[in-house]
């Protein structure tokens, strides 16, 4: 498995790279890859998402082939795009979503931020009902059982940007960040390192590969 840190990269550029990797992974010519990055400010909306969730008409959103509704990406948010071949890992989209949640919950716990799942609302949340706040959003697209898109974990994200949308389609959905939850917990670089270290092991634990290839390419 390959883990790449792309730094700050334009949404469309990263999108093109993902598409290329998805084709390669599906064809067996590329290793599974995790892209870690930040985007310049951009709003994206899932294919089934509702334009009406963009409250401010002066902003435009990129419609993309992932699940979920509208969200914001911008500096200070750690974005992870895993390109994973689920054909070899049990072909179960819900399990894959739960894996992403588990990964983020464990990472944030490492930095002293307690987060959790909320049933029926994919993503990672802090607090307890009804005072939930969304710490990370998740939206996945799958082509030939190879995944693209993934998660966005707010580290020091400018949260005011979320006030112009109904994040993920929920009205008045509060959004939070690692920084808000616990100032000075760790830099985005440290958190990214932690994701890079943990990702593959947890993936193999929760979604074991039924092919030897993964073992072979592991470094």
């Amino acid at each position: 498995m390959i883990i790449k840190n792309l730094g700050l990269i334009d949404f469309n550029e990263a999108y093109a790279l993902q598409e290329q990797l998805v084709a390669g992974v599906a064809a067996g010519t590329e290793d599974e890859t995790l892209l870690l990055l930040e985007h310049p400010p951009v709003y994206t909306i899932g294919s089934g998402g509702f334009v009406g969730n963009i409250l401010d008409p002066s902003i435009s959103a990129v419609r993309i082939n992932r699940g979920g509704d509208v969200t914001y990406h911008g500096p200070g948010q750690l974005v992870g795009y895993p390109i994973i071949n689920l054909a070899r890992r049990g072909r179960d989209l819900h399990r894959y979503l739960r894996f992403l949640e588990e990964l983020i919950i464990r990472i944030t716990a490492d930095f002293g931020v307690a987060a959790q799942r909320v049933s029926g609302r994919t993503g990672v949340w802090t607090g307890s009902p009804p005072a939930l706040a969304k710490l990370a959003s998740i939206g996945v697209g799958v082509r030939r059982w190879v995944t693209m898109h993934g998660f966005g974990l707010n580290v020091t994200t400018d949260l005011s940007k979320f006030s112009r949308i109904n994040p993920c389609g929920f009205i008045d959905c509060p959004v939070t960040s690692m920084f808000v939850e616990r100032a000075g917990v760790g830099s985005l670089d440290e958190i990214r390192e932690c994701v890079a270290l943990r990702f593959e092991m947890l993936l193999d634990d929760l979604l074991p590969s039924d092919s030897g290839d993964i073992i072979k390419t592991r470094r």
Partner: protein
């Protein structure tokens, strides 16, 4: 031999999936490996591949609809193949079964609709946002699916709901016995709960009024389409929040019509609306406050003049926006406007083209409307309602003359704009339209 395409099981815990969009239209050739559709479960979307080649003969689920895993959602076969007899109870919304026996004309219509899936990516689902206000992602059945049954007619089915729906119902204090399920065998879906919440709110609001005001005289109901829902929310919000005032002006359009005729004859097609957009742009440059937004504790200043035009559709309207009007010539405005309107009517407009408006023009002149007032689209500061150009007798220099008069009514947000300012804006608009040559420079 026709092949049935079914809603795939994308997870052990997936019971139903939502058809997001068709990537092929009925009658289109499909190769093995082509992407037929996009389906969604939870926050994950899967591109559905075809495992056989042939022609897409039929689609049985509309974009936005849920379908149970294993349900036949489409048929791929050879041109001569008759689509096999459709199964019953396959599609979740109530009209599913009726839809499957559509008359041929309807089938064609359906095909055309799915064909649009590229542009806006889907016709049914993200219906082009008619308006720009807040809205969540609830789904509403199409109006033609009206069953006429009053809510609460199926108490026996009340237990047919998923654990998640039951939990949501508990949380929201909804009695499932009162909810009419729109799923197969009356299964209660999440959207039914959302509808029920609305019904309950409506009942509370109207409690003091005669009963018939809730459901009409015959007790029939028509569910709201997505577009109607969106319009309803935006105009309610606008009407409740924005203190509207209106100012009307009569403008002599004789010269503007003359300019239009001349340009048309020289092969430069132009509509009266294009002239109004251009004139409004120059007036907005002079009176920029009308291009701004009231934002609670401050005024949001919009540096670009982005003018939206209301385009009427069968069930509602959309407002495609021409951006950066201050930098566009009349010719450019005309070209952009023509393109946007035709795509809006075909349902192919993208959301980027519907958003970002800073001022709106609504023209009902083609219906012979003399004058009317329009509701402001939040967060905009004003909207111009344009009536028909009519032959009127006017007094000019002491004698009666024939003139081509058009009345325009500006609705403005009084929190942002005062009457005198609005009047001066209209004076400028009138000046430009009555001296249209200035627009050609």
């Amino acid at each position: 031999m026709p092949t049935e395409i079914t809603m795939p099981k994308l997870s052990d815990t997936m019971t139903e999936g939502r058809l997001i969009s068709w990537k092929k239209s009925v009658g289109e050739k499909v190769e093995r490996g082509d992407i037929l559709a996009e389906v969604e479960t939870d926050k994950a979307n899967m591109e559905l591949e075809s495992f056989s080649s042939g022609i897409l003969l039929e689609t049985r689920v509309k974009p936005g609809d849920m379908a149970v895993v294993g349900t036949v959602i489409a048929i791929v076969g050879e041109a001569g193949d008759a689509a096999p007899a459709p199964e019953k109870k396959t599609v979740l919304p109530p009209a599913g079964a009726e839809n499957e026996q559509l008359p041929p004309a309807e089938q064609v219509r359906k095909g055309e609709e799915s064909g649009m899936s590229e542009g806006l990516s889907k016709t049914e689902r993200p219906q082009p946002e008619p308006v720009t206000g807040a809205m969540d992602k609830e789904e509403f059945p199409e109006p033609e699916k009206t069953t006429g049954e009053p809510v609460g007619s199926a108490p026996a089915e009340a237990e047919k709901a998923s654990p998640m729906v039951r939990r949501l119902a508990r949380e929201q204090g909804i009695d499932l016995m009162l909810v009419k399920g729109s799923g197969p065998d009356g299964r209660i879906l999440q959207e039914d709960l959302e509808k029920q919440v609305k019904v309950e709110v409506k009942v509370e609001e109207k409690a003091s009024e005669p009963e018939q005001s809730i459901s009409g005289v015959q007790g029939a109901e028509q569910p709201l389409s997505r577009m109607r829902t969106a319009i309803a929310r935006t105009v309610s919000r606008a009407w409740q929040e924005i203190p509207h005032f209106t100012v009307t002006f009569a403008i002599d359009m004789s010269e503007a019509e003359e300019v239009r005729r001349e340009l048309k004859e020289s092969g430069k097609p132009l509509s009266i609306n294009d002239l109004i957009i251009k004139a409004a742009t120059s007036a907005l440059v002079e009176f920029p406050q009308l291009n701004n937004s009231f934002a609670g504790d401050r005024i949001a200043v919009n540096s670009d003049i982005n003018i939206g035009q209301a385009v009427g559709l069968e069930d509602g309207l959309v407002v495609p926006v021409i951006r950066g009007c201050q930098g566009l010539s009349l010719k450019e405005i005309a070209a952009r406007s023509r393109e946007l309107i035709s795509r809006a009517k075909e349902g192919k407009i993208s959301e980027a083209e519907l958003g970002g408006g800073t001022f709106t023009i609504s023209n009902l002149g083609m219906f012979g409307v003399e004058e009317f007032m329009a509701v402001i689209q939040p967060p905009q500061g004003a909207i111009l309602a344009v009536g028909a150009i009519m032959d009127e007798a006017v007094v000019q220099n002491g004698s009666i003359a024939a003139a081509r008069i058009m009345r325009v009514t500006l609705s403005a947000d009084h929190r942002l704009i005062d009457g005198a300012y609005a009047a001066r804006f209209l004076q400028e608009l009138k000046r430009v339209l009555e001296n249209p040559v200035t627009m050609l420079m």
